[in-house]
Amino acid sequence: MIKALRSRLHQGYKTNAFPAENPRLPERYPGAPRLETERCTVCGACKAICPTSAISVQSGEPAGAEPRLALDLGRCIFCRKCETACPEGAIAFTGSFRMGARAKAGLVLGSVPHVSSTRTSRLDVSNDAHKAVSTGAGNQALNSEETRLIEALDRKMLKIFGRAMKIRQVSAGGCNACEADVNVLETIGFDLSRFGISITASPRHADAIIVTGPVSKNMELALRKTYEAMPSPKLVIAVGACAISGGIYRGLPDVCGGADAVIPIDLYIPGCPPHPMTILNALLELLDRVPRKN
């Protein structure tokens, strides 16, 4: 007992100071990419080398405008091959861990996304809350070269989830890297529960699900059943390139190619896997718990 107490003193206080202070991440951590569109000659070198086809060349709007590059963070696995391949230095990884979006289009850098601006304020707590919470963020991404802050939940939803949120995690073909970096949020280093957020064992007790993996065909039913077992209103969070778009597994016959093929998604957190700080930050931005300086 004395020994345990002594080691408790010796091990010290290790919880990071986020969001008051940003933690120091390794120098080689890539972080969010930024497009320098004025440097880009649309030579296609990056597109050819991208293993997940995250880079595309889009014809802008109106039709006939100059073609320009688009980088989909929902597919990106942050291998940095595009950065190396680009002769003009038009793609740079910034080291920023703040990434994520409420709508899939918000993950596309440099594009002119075709999103309908059907912003709805309806909140049907008793039934299908998804329509109310999952729209609205697309406009943020218009002509954006870098990532933006994640739109917080609306006031009614914040009143329900803002101070306490229970999360059920479902791995559906995940490789155990995303799972591990979700799990680590519960350790003393990040201490998720200081924000009122915790992982729960049963979908019946859950306010949100975190889905990881490309959703293997063999997990499709289990994922849907887990979702259906949760009481409304409920949120779904896709963590990692696989859950957002299928990632490296996109197009394989044994996977669904992302969680939104099965259930509606409210928050997308990109990465392969996302750094735990990216996940923590995205959860807190969603719950409006991070100071919004920009």
């Binding site: 080689r28 997940t52 155990n176 591990a180 680590v184 293997s216």
Partner: protein
């Protein structure tokens, strides 16, 4: 039997094709004298016609019952010789099962049946491997017997799988583990490669073993293209592999403490595991080592400044971890739960062909790093950690010894990083009709990759054998006669991969 060293390539014609009876006898004799099966698989319609590619193979009809329609390849690890032996036989739509005489062949034969429809006649337990439907569970009937079904979605943040317990009161008489929920079709996707996605499939086949699987793949490509990575690249790979082992062992020791309700060690180790992952991230920017291992070398160098800082941080981590883990052995309540829980006999472990810490905790001296050394392990011998008792305590003890020995190996390598390049990707085309095999001691045990190329040098068949493929049945056996409430503890002491098994 064709003998070769770990990480060798040869023409596919070099693997002797023998009649089945001789094939079966050779394997049985080798296994009797201490060999273990590292891979056993059937390549359908092999040898028919010349221009075989993976795409053509899948398009072929598979109803020719009488003709020889597949070639069965067996690769055996012969630890006394430090060599791998390869042998093959052509088979029709059925073959006499090896399992009754060689139990460790059972999962391989089930996999062959599921993938090709070729029947191992006389297999005692011919159940699905990765198919989740139509699984026929063994069941127990009688007074006070009951069945407990768990999964695929589990209570914690872990991967999906289904466990079916047959209990008599609180005691588990039989546990059946049905997997396949994580199946993504990696092996199928690899056929026709390598291409720009290949290395990423390897890195995510089991994401917590990124370095292990990527190293096995890189060794295989290097063997096929006769590329020799520089000593410096080998050193960086070795450091990354041992960091991976440390991170997982430390995390699991913490989780074991959590499973018996001993929170100090759980909290400390949860944080310390992260510190080790952060060291990997210092090297490559990613906590799981993505991008470090590339065929031909490594993607990132460790300069002198980084080597010094990693060494200093590592020493601090080891000191803190030794203290945290040391608390376990001083707590009677922990020992009472660890000792004689989830016992596995050495004979059972040998028969099932267990690998890695699970085997070493049954007193079996089996470690790829010393049995079939490659890379830095040719020069830096890491003593094999074993413990005889086969229970949770033994598996915890082996994990502790291993993270300590990994740490001192890393410090040794960091102190004397060899000069040289970190290497350029091996871009040369692969030779046609060749076979290559590599073994790596991942943190869960022996990882085996084996590739056969077609007439154009593309992958005709790529086989990945994750250590979990050998070890899941070990967990099922360890549960026999245990309290069902001890399942989480036993499970964590093995901590096997679902996606590595399901692929």
């Amino acid at each position: 039997m064709k003998l070769f060293t770990n990480g060798s390539a040869m023409s596919v014609e070099d693997i002797p094709v023998v009649d089945f009876e001789f094939f079966a006898r050779s394997i049985a004799e080798a296994v009797k004298s201490g060999a273990s099966i590292v891979a056993l698989f059937a390549v359908p319609d092999y040898g028919k016609g010349a221009a075989r590619t993976a795409a053509e193979l899948t398009a072929l009809p598979t109803n020719a019952a009488t003709e020889k329609r597949a070639r069965l390849f067996a690769f055996l690890g012969l630890p006394t010789k430090g060599m791998i032996g390869g042998i093959a036989a052509d088979i029709g739509s059925a073959f006499p099962s090896l399992t009754p005489k060689i139990p460790q062949a059972h999962m391989f034969e089930r996999e062959i049946f599921e993938n090709t429809g070729i029947v191992p006649v006389g297999h005692p337990w011919l159940k699905p491997v990765r198919k989740i439907f139509d699984y026929d569970f063994y069941s127990l009937e009688g007074g006070q017997t009951h069945e407990v079904a768990v999964g695929p979605v589990h209570a914690g943040v872990i991967e999906p799988g289904h466990f079916r317990f047959q209990c008599y009161g609180e005691e588990v008489e039989h546990l059946e583990i049905a997997l396949g929920y994580q199946h993504r079709g990696i092996e199928k996707a690899l056929a026709g490669g390598p291409d720009i996605r290949t290395i990423h499939f390897m890195e995510t086949s089991a994401g917590d073993t990124t370095i292990g699987h990527a190293t096995a793949y890189a060794m295989l490509i290097e063997a096929l293209t006769s590329t020799q990575p520089d000593a410096r690249a080998e050193a960086v790979r070795g450091i990354a592999l041992e960091l991976e082992r440390m991170a997982n062992h430390i995390g699991d020791l913490g989780a074991l403490a959590g499973d018996v309700g001993y929170l100090p060690t759980k909290s400390f180790c949860g944080r310390l595991r992260g510190e080790v992952l952060n060291l990997t991230a210092e090297i490559c920017g990613n906590r799981f080592g993505r991008g470090i291992v590339q065929p031909g070398g490594v993607g990132f160098d460790i300069d002198e400044k980084m080597a010094t800082s990693i060494a200093a941080r590592l020493q601090k981590i080891v000191k803190d971890t030794d203290e945290a883990v040391g608390l376990l052995w001083d707590s009677p309540s922990v020992l009472a739960r660890f000792e004689r829980t989830g016992m596995l006999k050495k004979e059972t472990a040998l028969e099932l062909g267990l690998v890695g810490p699970a085997a070493r905790a049954c007193g079996i001296e089996r470690d790829v790093r010393s049995d079939y050394p490659s890379g830095i392990y040719k020069y830096a011998a890491i003593p094999v950690a074993t413990y005889p008792s086969g229970d949770v305590y033994a598996r915890a003890m082996v994990r502790m010894l291993e993270y300590q020995r990994s740490a001192s190996a890393i410090l040794d390598v960091l102190a004397a990083l060899p000069a040289g390049n970190t290497g350029k990707p091996a871009s040369r085309a692969l030779p046609a009709r060749s076979v290559a095999l590599s073994l790596v001691e991942g943190w869960r045990g022996k990882i085996c990759h084996c590739a056969i190329t077609d007439n154009r040098g593309a992958f005709l068949y790529y086989k990945i054998v994750d250590p979990s493929f050998h070890n899941w049945p070990g967990l099922a056996y360890a549960l026999r006669g245990q309290q069902i409430s001890d399942f989480p503890l036993c499970n964590k002491s093995f901590n096997l991969s679902y996606c590595g098994f399901d692929l």
